[in-house]
């Protein structure tokens, strides 16, 4: 049962990160980040760490709300014209994350590794390919939450809570950064 819940957490986190890749407006960004936080905290909760799970969820929720208020573009902005390559990217990176989590990395559970790899890879893809500041910062916040979980995997179990807190604080800080003028942060398309 624990393994199934952790797998569900990894799937939800991958789906949330995919929404971050596919969205171009504030509802999409906020929903994607919420799903990422929910997925990562479900994965952590399934493995018995309720404190880091709570911190990741609270951090994700706060970051999503702050980011929602800071993003000027209204609506969902999902699956706009020309988004087929991004859909393919989400599928390929999802498969790549499973391979990385099961074959290459060995720390923690494979579900946890896969969740971290999926969010980090998709968040990185969004962050490194966009000129839109809000999209980039939201993707950065998702990666920060994944780092909060990963840091707990690398260190001793006592550090999990502090690492999750660090990831949550970093996510909120990134989403709270004020928006630059539109000219310097136009949508990526």
């Amino acid at each position: 049962m624990t393994g199934v819940l952790a797998l569900m957490g990894a799937l939800v986190a991958w789906f949330g990160a995919s929404i971050l890749v596919l969205a171009d407006a504030r509802r999409g960004f906020a929903f994607g980040l919420l799903l990422v936080a929910a997925g990562l905290s479900l994965e952590r909760l399934a493995e018995g760490g309720w404190q880091p799970a709570l911190l990741l969820a609270a951090g994700g929720l706060t970051a999503a709300l702050v980011g929602f208020r800071r993003t000027p573009r209204q609506g969902w902005g999902l699956l706009g014209p020309g988004s087929t390559p991004r859909v393919i990217l989400c599928l390929v990176f999802g498969a790549g994350a499973v391979w990385l989590g099961t074959a290459l990395l060995t720390i923690g559970s494979w579900q946890g590794r896969t969740a971290v790899a999926a969010v980090a890879a998709l968040g990185a893809a969004r962050l490194l390919t966009t000129d839109d500041q809000r999209a980039g910062l939201t993707a950065g916040a998702a990666v920060a939450l994944a780092c909060g979980l990963a840091a707990g995997l690398v260190n001793s179990s006592e550090a999990e809570t502090a690492a999750a807190l660090a990831g949550a604080l970093a996510a909120v800080t990134l989403c709270a950064m004020p928006s630059l003028p539109e000219a310097a942060g136009a949508p990526s398309g």
């Binding site: 990395l105 980039g136 950065g140 990963a150 800080t173 630059l180 942060g185």
Partner: protein
């Protein structure tokens, strides 16, 4: 005590930005918190401490570069051009110091990468001339590679994974700093805290020392070979590109950018040699970047914006000598140590390094011309920096002892 070196600058940046309308009070608060952070960095002990399960450690070489970074931030605020917003500069400096201290003291490599990612996001969100995407790409990519390196170092079942860890570590650090092949454009009109020089001249030195002393410690022997080879390869690439780019550039911001690249090339080669002399040379060069090249660029920036006619004054020759690493300045001892270390490994490498070092002699004269006709404030700043550099050059054993390379 090590965690206070992170806490004080962070609190100072917060208090300074809250008090920014009360100019004098904000500057005093920044000064007080900056000094408190400096004292915490100086008096921190190298033993590992645990707080809420997290490891904090400030190894001796990292501590030395962190202290020098505090001094560099102080010099940047002290020597700010007339009319500059010193409060904004002090707040940015303290924010940068908090980021540097986080990288320096955090024992968990994923949290180090998280600190780099957060710094990249905040730095790219500052108002500047270049777009967000252009500014965030290199450091964010570096942070992500550092996460990959940390996860692979912590646990991988394959030889390929171990090698990728070494590769990702070096590429991650070079990307975060903004060295070639991740080099960004340097526009002198852009405020220094938001420009790539913040990574090249301020955040980079501590990050690279943390890489060499702590992050690389967990690599396996196979990964260690890849790590050293990539460091030397990237060092030669940056050195060559710096010299070539410098020759092709007019006296201006581009020439300064390539001069940073030239110094960083020497640093990477020094670290890649994996010897005591190589590490000592790299440390001296990093001190020279923090206490000479970075503040000199900040002093030259107003003249670079005006793009006036290049002029060389008598004092300019001394500046050129210091920038080129001539005796008796700090760069000379660093270059001698590097040549000694490289010649013990492979003489063609030492020959290449010597040619690249010599190529910067005429280029440094052109760099010194970028000051134009210096004002009294700039002349005072240049004199102060030359005296500091001269002191380090005359007694490099002090720095070498601090970093454990004597």
């Amino acid at each position: 005590m090590a965690e206070l070196a992170l806490g004080f600058p962070f609190a100072g940046a917060l208090v300074g930005s809250l008090l920014r309308r009360r100019h004098r009070l904000a500057l005093l608060a920044c000064l007080a918190f900056g000094l408190a952070g400096l004292v915490a960095a100086v008096t921190a002990r190298p033993e590992r401490a645990t707080l809420a399960g997290l490891d904090f450690q400030l190894a001796a070489p990292v501590q030395a570069i962190l202290v020098v970074s505090f001094l560099a931030a102080g010099l940047a605020v002290l020597l700010a051009p007339a009319g500059a917003d010193r409060v904004a500069l002090a707040v940015s400096g303290l924010g940068g110091l908090a980021a540097i201290a986080a990288v320096a003291v955090l024992g968990n490599p994923v949290l180090v990468a998280l600190a780099v990612l957060l710094t990249a996001g905040v730095h790219a969100a500052l108002p500047a001339l270049r777009s967000f995407g252009e500014r965030v790409r290199a450091p964010a990519f570096g942070a992500l590679l550092l996460v990959l390196a940390a996860l692979l170092t912590a646990g991988t079942g394959s030889l390929a994974g171990a090698r990728i860890a070494g590769l990702a570590l070096v590429l991650g650090v070079t990307a975060a700093i903004g060295l070639a092949p991740y080099l960004g454009a340097l526009d002198p009109r852009e405020p220094a805290p938001a420009s790539p020089v913040a990574w090249l001249g301020f955040l980079g030195p501590t990050l690279v020392v943390v890489m060499a002393t702590r992050l690389s410690g967990g690599l396996s022997a196979e990964a260690g070979d890849a790590y050293a080879a990539v460091l030397i390869g990237l060092g030669i690439f940056n050195l060559g590109l710096g010299a070539l780019g410098g020759w092709r550039s007019k006296p201006g911001a581009d020439l300064w950018r390539y001069s940073f690249l030239g110094d960083w090339g020497l640093v990477l080669v020094g670290l890649g040699l994996l010897s005591r002399d190589g590490f000592g040379a790299a440390s001296l060069l990093l001190v020279s970047i923090l206490l000479l090249r970075l503040p000199l660029y900040l002093l030259a920036r107003p003249a670079l914006v005006k793009t006036g006619r290049p002029e060389l004054h008598a004092a300019g020759l001394l500046v050129a000598a210091a920038l080129a690493g001539s005796a008796p300045f700090a760069g000379f001892a660093a270059r001698l140590l590097l040549l000694r270390s490289a010649s013990a490994v492979a003489w063609p490498l030492a020959l290449f390094l010597a040619v690249a070092m010599l190529s910067w002699l005429p280029l440094s004269i052109r760099l010194a011309q970028t000051f134009g006709r210096p004002s009294r404030r700039v002349t005072f700043g240049v004199a102060l920096l030359l005296v500091i550099n001269l002191a380090v050059g005359l007694y490099p054993a002090f720095i070498l002892k601090l970093v454990g390379a004597s």
